[in-house]
């Protein structure tokens, strides 16, 4: 059940983009998120660390094409928080009309 709940952590544009891109997949590799976000590696790591500390994102080591990679995923808690945040934004828009 989605309950409108504004989330400061998610609302920051870069973290919102990260959550949005992860929300439509079981996981996306760090390198791909890095490419799409157009952030520096350290800046992306910082955002991911904040999301991970809140329990929203997990980082799983995988191997693809013989190379070690990091697979980033939204946790169930993160998916709920993201959906609730979108609902909160929608409610702000609806209340203004």
């Amino acid at each position: 059940m989605v309950e409108p709940r504004f989330d400061d952590l998610i609302h920051a544009p870069h973290r919102l983009r990260i959550c949005a891109m992860l929300s439509q997949a079981e996981g996306i590799e760090f390198g791909e998120v890095l490419n799409r976000s157009e952030l520096s590696k350290s800046a992306l790591s910082k955002h991911l660390s904040q999301l991970a500390q809140a329990g929203y994102v997990t980082d799983t080591p995988i191997v693809r094409e013989g190379r070690s990679r990091q697979l980033l995923s939204l946790t169930p808690v993160g998916r709920i928080a993201y959906a609730d945040h979108l609902a909160a934004l929608q409610r702000i828009i609806e209340e203004s009309t």
Binding site: F6, L16, A20, E26, G27, I28, R36, A88, L89, I93
Partner: protein, 153 residues
């Protein structure tokens, strides 16, 4: 609605709309993850080649053998190309794809591919050319729409 805990004012409706648009664009970009720019034109060209070869009426030897070899080569290339792009190694796992547009596209393509085989006997093999152009145009059109949608994302 619960507000933020940081003491920051909540976003204005305009800011909320921009944030939702930003999120939707990223979600779309994940669902329609990029394929190489050459994929759709190459696929359209291969399909057109296959159909044009089918339009050749009862060629004599050794042209018949050559046509058969090229046809098989093109068919295998189409299968490998589609297979690699659709199911090959990717940095994405478990993307939530909306299957309805994909299924509709596959069905239309299947009809366009099968119809000339059924009609060629009664109408003439030139029907392969017509359907080949139609199917190639459909693939190119899908590619352009895909590219625009992904670029917006």
């Amino acid at each position: 609605m619960e507000t933020n805990d940081s003491g920051m004012p909540p976003p204005t409706p305009e800011e909320a709309r921009r944030a939702l648009d930003l999120a939707e664009a990223e979600e779309t970009a994940t669902r329609y993850r990029p394929v190489p720019g050459w994929y759709y034109p190459a696929l359209a060209g291969l399909v057109l080649g296959l159909f044009l070869l089918n339009s050749i009426e009862q060629p004599q030897q050794p042209v018949r053998t050559l046509v058969a070899i090229v046809t098989i080569f093109l068919a295998i290339t189409v299968a490998v190309l589609v297979g690699r792009v659709s199911f090959g190694s990717s940095p994405y796992r478990g993307v939530r794809v909306d299957g309805k547009p994909l299924l509709a596209g596959v069905l239309v393509a299947a009809v366009l591919a099968i119809a000339p085989a059924l009609l060629a006997g009664s109408i003439g093999s030139w029907i392969w050319v017509v359907y080949g152009i139609a199917l190639s145009a459909l693939i190119c059109g899908f590619g352009v729409a895909y590219w625009r949608r992904h670029r917006r994302g």
